[in-house]
Symmetry: C2
Subunit: 183 residues, 2 copies
Amino acid sequence: MLYPNNIKKTYTKITNYSNRGMDLEYLIEQANEYYIDNDIAYIYKKPTPIGVTKVTYSSKGKRIQDGFYKTPSTLDFNGLYQGHYIEFDAKVTQNKTAFPISNVHEHQIKHIRNINNHGGIVFLVIKMNEKYFLLMGDTFLAFIDKEKRKSIPYEYLLENAYEIKLSLKGLDYLSTLNKIIGG
Amino acid sequence: MLYPNNIKKTYTKITNYSNRGMDLEYLIEQANEYYIDNDIAYIYKKPTPIGVTKVTYSSKGKRIQDGFYKTPSTLDFNGLYQGHYIEFDAKVTQNKTAFPISNVHEHQIKHIRNINNHGGIVFLVIKMNEKYFLLMGDTFLAFIDKEKRKSIPYEYLLENAYEIKLSLKGLDYLSTLNKIIGG
């Protein structure tokens, strides 16, 4: 028996969705949308900075004809939640035993330190072993300042980071953050 | 007598700089750089969001071959200062008697209201009559909620906004903000 068209479509959609490489970012964007729609928080993904080398002008306006993606020096997401400055980045690793610190650029580490020092709430959202973790900036910095190793063992995440549960709202990281900061 | 090459170059540079349309943004970026270099604040201009319709891949990486600028729904600058979430936009008007409210998009007005309600510090930096003003979000909202007119009279700015003085640091808007929030 053939499935009715609409059921098959839904099934295809779910398959694609769970396989896409961007899924962590997608789940965060979904949560951000939920937060904005429900007046909970105003957190956005920063557009990737573009270097533009050629533009054209037409009746439709300015168009970019040649450009390239630059490396951002801050983290990908920032915004406002209950009077707090929030900034974080989403990182995925396929590594099963440890999170390679090289996933976080040197200038991003410096930035995490600055935001932490100035009273902002800064963290990493890490996808590893099909789980999602919220690793606070100060915990991350304490690790790299103390340890010589180039990666954070999975056990360290299990003990020192906070698991974020998937929900219908996407990746509801603010519920997890509430448990940490007592919001 | 001809000027030595280096003097002439400097002179040309100053002329260009004072005439450029982007100068307000440039002066703010200069201040932001000063704040970052001196560990005072971490405030950045958000890249303009780009819609990309064509990319190519080569040994040099991914390049954008067709794209367009989108209208951002937030304000241009945001960041962290002394534990405060800061967000603002830079607006220039050639109008000498009033600042047209149409300079601020409808979705930006909504965003200003949201940031204000959630405990962020939100404002406009307005260049008008060769002066620079910091107009706090709540003052701006109070005006548009009360008044029916489509522009803010210059006198209103003189009385209710705060003048930002130019300095060697660029447009040092945080010194002005300190006077308002008592930082």
